[in-house]
Amino acid sequence: MASLRNKFRLLRAARTAGLAGVIVLGACLGYGQTTNSCLDCHSAMPDPLGVTQEKFSQDIHAQKGLTCTSCHGGDASSYDPTVSMGAKAGFKGKIDRKQVPQLCAGCHSNPTYMKQYDPGLRTDQLDQYHTSVHGKRLAAGDSKVAVCVDCHSVHDIRPPSDPRSTVNPVNIATTCSRCHSDAAYMKPYGIPTDQFAKYNTSVHYQAMMVSGDLSAPTCTTCHGNHGAVPPGVDKVQNVCANCHVFQAQMYEKSSHKAAFDALGLPGCVVCHSNHGIHMPSDAMLGTGPQGVCMRCHQPGDRCDQARVKIQSGLMQLDGAITQADQTLSVAEASGMDVSEARLAQSQARDQLIKARVTIHTYQASLVDQDVQAGLKIAAKDEQAGKDAMVERNQRRIGLGICLIAIAIMLAGLWLFIRKIER
């Protein structure tokens, strides 16, 4: 029994010596810096308890002067675990997932406190979160749903403006996909998991990731961030209208609005889909695989006739602009200055874009007005290109005549020289 007690004593002594070693090492490494016993020990620990100085120094909170104790409580100035992690020092230990939003809100929902760091920062995140599907499920006891740290990361939280942040616009879709593309994780909720894959094929993804337009839509643009919810069927056009203002205004006044509402169809999504929105093309008005009108309409009906008129008008304008471009390019290649017509071509293109937007009125006569205006400009530009080519030819004819005159002069001079030198 005594030997057993001795063995325990030895083990305790070894543990104390080891801990003292870690503390001394930590103290040596931290000499000259503010004492942070938490990092001194936890930087030597494996995950999930490990937090290195390097990692924590990247955190916006650390940069603003907050420490581990700001969230976890305790006393970072003491290397005695019984003091630093003692109840007396208010040590909270690992924060329970359900408590995370409340903990973060302790500061982030306090306008007075947050003002000292960034007067422009919002402080309604917790209220927003309570309205979200994530917040509601968490309140109902589902701890699998996203809490603050799932999106913003933990111990290396960067501001959203930092390209390395998990909530920077270019990273948001990937961050959401960590859960929403995980079929096993999402199985209990019965919602699709292909949103990320579809988004990666979309025109919005192209704008964001290929063209580098950080204002292009990502998940949170349509679903919200802290108050993330799926837009309801009747709200879809409101979401799209945030950017596509004119299309939404036209749709609101159109015959499709009433029809879609009556059928319970989700507005814009009916033709454009949602996550995998591709660049719209005139083929959407056609009867081919990309065509969308004939999914509902019957061949030959009044709407189908309007569709044909709209599509042919757009194709005619598109063709006229391309033709004028080609003519102007040939003139330019001949060295002719057609910059004015080139400038006007952009107006013709604007008309084509306008006509494509006017489609959302679903009135062929209105689309035709824009098409005709564009055709007029394109015809003028085409004529400018042709005129430039006519002038080019006239210049060459003039050159030919001048060269003949010069040749005659040269011959005359040569004959004269020969005559006087004979």
């Binding site: 060295g335 200055d337 910059s339 004015e340 060459r396 050159l399 060269l403 010069i406 001079l413 040569w414």
Partner: protein, 359 residues
């Protein structure tokens, strides 16, 4: 009628005395006589520049906000404006080309030797001024290429030790290339440089007239050996008529270039925009530009760019003073100068080609 007017003038001004030297002036005739034409062609192209330049002045507006638009107006709206501007631009390039050809022909034919040292010096100064015309005129349409070429060119001047920075500020009219630079370059192009050129051309022509045409030493030796082989033609009218034929050819070439390849205007300069990729100076500065590019950024402890610019300046100065290293006509001409001339020609051609092909 014309004869009557001439007689009337002669009675009062004694024009015959003035023309007399030209009547007596002769031009040696040998297998290399055609090189004598290049000076006259360069002078003719300068005349074209003066006439087309004056016509362009009728519509050109110097100013960062108006220059590009005024040239665009000349190219598209003014009757035959495209022809005048294209001829002005093409003629400028051809003039620099013929000036270079004239310089190298004088060098290879050893026409720079005593007593023609000052003719060479005035000719070299004219060549520098012609390049100055090219540099200042290039900016005037205020397009992107011109803007950045001027930015690079004037920055190079700024690299010259001690006087570089003040010179750059003087050229630019401030620390940056702005509308003030355009106004300044316009002034150089239409007032300062033409004035200097007219004075130097007068001196150059006076010296040519005074000293007569040089005969290459080799041909001179042949003629000394065989005096019956010596042949000459009268400058007026025989040589002048032949020169006129060359001028007609030059007009034909200019007209063809202007009609088939009208000079491009490009895109209006945007001082806040970034320089277009692969921007290069005009072909006649390309050999200097490429030389500066191939020099390492540091040569021993000297900045490579400074070394290149100072080196180019010294080379120019030595070139200007070249006749003074070879001025003993009775003795055998120094061969190393011919070797140097061949090297210079190959260097200029090689570096220009390298600069043209390099990315």
């Amino acid at each position: 009628m014309i004869a009557a007017i001439l007689r009337w003038l002669d009675e009062r001004l004694h024009l015959d005395d003035l023309i007399a030297p030209f009547r007596h002036k002769t031009v040696p005739v040998h297998r290399l006589t055609y090189w004598y034409f290049f000076g006259g062609i360069t002078l003719f192209l300068f005349g074209v520049q003066v006439i087309t330049g004056i016509l362009l002045l009728l519509y050109y507006n110097a100013g960062a906000n108006e220059a590009f638009e005024s040239v665009q107006y000349i190219m598209t709206k003014v009757r035959y404006g495209w022809l005048i501007r294209s001829i002005h631009s093409w003629s400028a390039n051809l003039m620099i080309l013929t000036a270079f050809a004239h310089m190298f022909s004088v060098l290879f034919l050893k026409a720079y030797r005593k007593p023609r040292e000052l003719t060479w010096v005035s000719g070299m100064l004219l060549l520098f001024l012609v390049m100055g015309f090219g540099f200042s005129g290039y900016l005037l349409p205020w397009n992107t290429l011109a803007f950045f070429a001027t930015k690079v060119g004037t920055a190079m001047v700024g690299q010259v030790p001690i006087v570089g920075q003040p010179m750059m500020i003087f050229l630019r009219g401030g620390p940056q290339v702005t509308g003030a630079t355009l106004i300044r370059f316009f002034g150089f192009h239409v007032a300062v440089l033409p004035g200097l050129v007219v004075v130097l051309i007068s001196i150059h022509l006076f010296l040519v007239q005074r000293l007569g045409m040089s005969v290459p030493p080799k041909i001179e030796a042949e003629w000394v050996e065989n005096p019956s082989a010596r042949r000459e033609m009268k400058f007026f009218p025989n040589f002048l008529l032949r020169e006129m034929m060359a001028w007609y050819v030059a007009i034909g070439v200019l007209g063809a270039l202007a009609a088939i390849f009208p000079w491009n205007l490009g895109v209006k300069a945007d001082p806040f925009g970034s320089a277009p990729a692969g921007i290069k100076p005009e072909w006649y500065f390309l050999f200097m530009y490429q030389t500066l590019k191939v020099i390492p950024s540091k040569v021993w402890f000297v900045d490579g760019e400074v070394l290149g610019i100072v080196g180019c300046g010294l080379a120019g100065l030595l070139w200007l003073l070249l006749p003074f290293f070879d001025s003993e006509p009775p003795s055998r001409p120094k061969r190393w100068i011919t070797g140097l001339a061949i090297f210079a020609l190959m260097y200029v051609a090689g570096m220009s080609a390298y600069g043209f092909l390099a990315k």
